[in-house]
């Protein structure tokens, strides 16, 4: 077994009396899609925030490529190789689609300390940005303002921006939400191919997508991982049925 | 340097602090409840002082002058809230800054138009003039002592209002969750007008009280306003308790710094230079205090919201 690309150890975070993640240890191996599922409010986004640096865990640690990144800032974690998408779009709404993707290219490339040449006329940046947009199917929208995009297109742009970073691991928070049946299928196909570039930690409510994509699935309920396994194992697991699918049925 | 001097200066600092509190309480309340940054709060202070000076001049009664200050500032506050401020609650901070900056221009020039550019004077009432002897044989002006008492009484009253009354519950609810109080059936726009008028009245009262020991003139509100900003930044914007502690800290630092820093500097430099650098540093001291608090806690001592 190879070393995991990304690993969390005993992540714990509480908001007052509420324990949002309770001793969560998961890992992400090269080439896999590891899905995290769980009911609303289970702590999935909270977990992602701790991995990516938006929230400080009360205890526990995060390691990327064997290197402890627990004390890194969000920016440093991104530079170290985490590519994140948000459940609720975090995009520059007044800017164009291309500008948002170029921002990613700036972060991935030479950084923002360039003051003379226009970013949108810098080929190194635009090439990278346009390639990412093309991959998610947003090329035609490149000059549109993000504010005028549909909800689904914003999700695609979120993914495109993370692509510009060429990360070591993708962390995606519900990339299918709001895509519609057709869009979900396209995105599923896309993520399927993406795993060979970098593994994906995928939080998703779309169960068809999860069962189609995931090499492994972890079930998070009330902040605790109650089961981890292959799709068929999770489907068959009694604990999961009781705690999670049981509720949903 | 005698201990009498020290105590006297501490009392001066307290007096300054409680007056700052009257200003800062309104500001912080208005920010806490309505999310509004109100630069025109200094104008309400000025309006209180002018109303008091005008009424005292006409009737000779200091008490009536204080009533006039409270009423004039509260009415001006309520009108401004209904005509202008109301449109700004959901606006960007920048718009709030600009609109209330515009109000300062209008109020200041309007007052100059009505009363002229010369300062007015408001006399300390006879009953409160002259010194009293405190335990330990310290002579201290009765009027300033009265100011301290009034300031503390207002602070207590405000605390009771907020902790113990229906309106207080609504105000606190408004600080935590604006939608909630609407859902509870409280008439928000009335509540906002009321809070604004209350803050204005406190500012007006401060203007009138301080007007009797300084001169009453156009532009008197803004230096106090800026100090009140420092106070609520130190205390944490939105927190009345923070405003109280911040006000006392600023009042004491400003007063004691002005007196003692030059003295301290004299210990290691010649007296002229010490006077100069001491007083320069003293005028900067409260800002240094603010800087230190913010390095320690970027949202102030009792602040939560950025």
């Amino acid at each position: 077994m190879s070393d995991p690309i990304l690993a969390t150890r005993n992540l714990k975070k509480s908001f007052g009396a509420l324990i949002a993640t309770d001793d969560v240890s998961i890992d992400l191996k090269a080439g896999e899609i590891h899905a995290i599922i769980g009911p609303n409010g289970a702590g999935k986004s909270t977990l992602i925030n701790q991995i990516c640096g938006g929230l400080r865990p009360d205890s526990g640690s995060v390691a990327l490529l064997g290197c402890d990144i627990s004390d890194y800032s969000t920016g440093a974690r991104a530079r170290a190789g985490l590519g994140r998408t948000f459940q609720i779009s975090e995009l520059a709404m007044e800017d164009s689609v291309l500008e948002n993707a170029v921002l990613g290219a700036i972060g991935a490339g030479a950084g923002p300390w360039k003051f003379w040449k226009s970013a949108l006329k810098t080929q190194g940046l635009t090439d990278r940005a346009e390639a990412a947009l093309a991959r998610v199917g947003l090329s035609d929208q490149r000059d549109m303002k993000v504010a005028n995009l549909s909800h689904g297109q914003r999700r695609q742009l979120e993914v495109a921006v993370s692509l510009t970073l060429s990360p070591k691991a993708f962390i995606m928070d519900e990339p299918m939400a709001g895509l519609g049946a057709e869009g979900s299928k396209t995105m599923t196909g896309f993520l399927d191919g993406l795993r060979s570039e970098a593994p994906i930690l995928l939080v998703e409510h779309d169960m068809d997508a999860v069962f189609a994509l995931a090499d492994r699935i972890s079930v998070l309920v009330y902040g605790k991982i109650i089961a981890t396994g292959r799709a068929d194992e999770i489907r068959a697991s009694k604990v999961v049925r009781e705690a999670y699918l049981g509720d949903a049925a | 340097m005698s201990s009498i001097l020290v105590i006297e200066q501490i009392l001066n600092g307290l007096q300054f602090g409680v007056m700052l509190f009257l200003m800062a309480a309104g500001l912080t309340l208005i920010f806490g409840v309505m999310g509004l940054i109100n630069l025109a709060h200094g104008s309400l202070y000025m309006i209180g002082a002018f109303a008091a000076a005008a009424v005292a001049g006409a009737t000779g009664s200091f008490f009536l002058a204080l009533v006039a200050a409270l009423v004039a500032a509260a009415v001006a506050g309520a009108i401004v809230e209904m005509v202008v401020i109301r449109r700004l609650y959901n606006a960007a901070h920048l718009d709030q800054v600009l609109a209330t900056f515009a109000l300062i221009l209008i109020f200041s020039e309007g007052t100059r138009w009505v009363f002229g550019s010369f300062p007015l004077f408001l006399d300390i009432p006879n009953a409160l003039s002259g010194p009293v002897t405190l335990p330990g044989g310290i002579q201290y002006p009765l009027y300033r002592l009265t100011l301290i008492a009034i300031g503390l009484a207002v602070a207590l009253g405000l605390w009771l209002l907020i902790e113990r009354t229906r309106i207080g519950i609504q105000i606190r609810a408004g600080e935590n969750d604006r939608e909630m109080i609407g859902a509870l059936g409280v008439d928000i726009s009335k509540l906002y007008t009321l809070v604004f008028a209350l803050g204005a009245a406190l500012a007006g009262l401060a203007g009138a009280l301080v007007g009797a020991i300084q001169s009453v003139q156009v532009g008197m509100g803004e230096p106090v306003l800026i100090l009140a900003f420092v106070v609520i930044v130190i205390g944490g914007i939105g927190s009345i308790r923070g405003a109280f502690i911040g006000a006392l800290l600023v009042g004491l630092t400003d007063t004691l710094g002005g007196v003692f820093l030059p003295e301290i500097f004299k210990l290691f430099m010649d007296s002229g230079a010490a006077q100069k650098s001491g007083s320069a540093l003293a005028s900067m001291s409260i800002y240094l205090l603010m800087g230190m608090v913010l390095i320690w806690r970027p949202t102030g001592l009792f602040g939560a919201r950025a």
Binding site: C52, E90, K117 | I37, A99, A102, I106, K276, T299, G300
Partner: protein
């Protein structure tokens, strides 16, 4: 009527050249001085607009840098004119009356101060930022008042305007040209900056700091550099302003001035390259004409301002072009 922003911009620049030339021909030096004043205030506001329009941070204390620029000029020129030495601890200098040197020193001092102050104030945001920048400017205001060596409350007069090689700076039109060229140069650099990777990142940071962090950038560093550039430009404007008046005083640090600089930007329109320039022209014109009509012209200025905030959110360019434009 809707016009293109580009055309409005061109018109303003042409107007700013034509007016002083016209005044020169009809021999009205005061008009040239007014135009110079507008150009310098515009420069100060262009500086402020980098942190305010691009960075979305409402600095209510930019008079600080304006004053620092002014006092840098005042102190250097004072020592040069009185043949006294300025002892700076590490080294001593006789001051200078040479404009380019004064400008560089003013910008460097402002930039260093902006860096130090920025480290502290940029930790905060929103209302805290507004109040703290205000307080810092106020701190320098009081410091200037108590700084008796350089005039204290009365300020410091510089009897002769400083020198620029090849020009007679005391001739109004020549000094105007200096200021105008500097403004155009800074506007050009600002336009480059706006579209550069740095500008794009700063612009995105205003909208969502989280996104900027997530692509590996550091919002604090972006803000800090924006604040430093912003302070340096406003400092340069301060040095020119002091030279225009041949006088510096603590009022250059005053909060009214900080407020007016914001007002200039809003009149013209936030987030637009020429917003501050148009704002400054309108402001100086209003100041001139209204104060000729009534002693209480600030009332009308206040009413106009209220009207703009409540009803014309894109500023004057917005009214003309029908677009609100970027807003903070």
């Amino acid at each position: 009527m809707r016009v293109k922003e580009k055309h409005v911009n061109a018109l303003v620049i042409i107007g700013l050249i034509a007016l002083p030339l016209f005044a020169l021909i009809s021999d009205e030096p005061f008009t040239i001085t007014l135009a110079t004043r507008a150009v310098i205030l515009a420069l100060a506001a262009v500086g402020l607009n980098i942190i305010l329009g691009m960075g979305g941070l409402v600095s209510f204390g930019h008079a600080l840098f304006f004053g620092i620029g002014g006092y840098t000029m005042g102190i250097l020129a004072y020592h040069a004119q009185t043949y006294t030495t300025l002892d700076l601890g590490l080294f001593a200098t006789g001051g200078t009356e040479f404009m380019p040197v004064i400008w560089v020193v003013a910008m460097v001092v402002s930039a260093v101060l902006a860096y130090l102050i920025g480290l502290l104030v940029l930790r905060t945001s929103g209302v805290y930022f507004i109040m703290i920048t205000l307080a810092f400017a106020q701190m320098f205001y009081y410091f200037a008042i108590s700084w008796a060596q350089y005039g204290g409350e009365d300020g410091l007069s510089i009897y002769v305007r400083n020198d620029f090689p090849g020009l007679n700076t005391l001739v109004p039109i020549q000094f105007f040209c200096i200021c105008f060229v500097i403004l155009c140069l800074v506007l050009f650099l600002k336009a480059r900056l706006q579209n550069s990777p740095f500008g794009l990142a700063l612009n995105a940071m205003r909208q969502t700091a989280t996104r900027v962090e997530t692509v590996g950038l550091n919002p604090m560093k972006l803000k800090l550099l924006a604040f430093v550039i912003s302070g340096a430009i406003t400092g340069l404007a301060g040095a020119l302003f002091a030279d225009l008046n041949r006088f510096v005083s603590p009022t250059m640090f005053s909060w009214q001035l900080s407020g007016e600089l914001i007002v200039l930007i809003i009149i013209g329109g936030v987030g637009r390259l020429m917003g501050p320039v148009i704002g400054a022209c309108i402001f100086v014109a209003l100041e001139h004409f209204l104060s000729g009509l009534t002693e209480f012209w600030h009332i009308y200025l206040g009413l106009i301002l209220l009207g703009i905030v409540l009803f014309a959110r894109g500023g004057v360019i917005g009214l003309l072009t029908g677009k609100e434009g970027a807003h903070v």
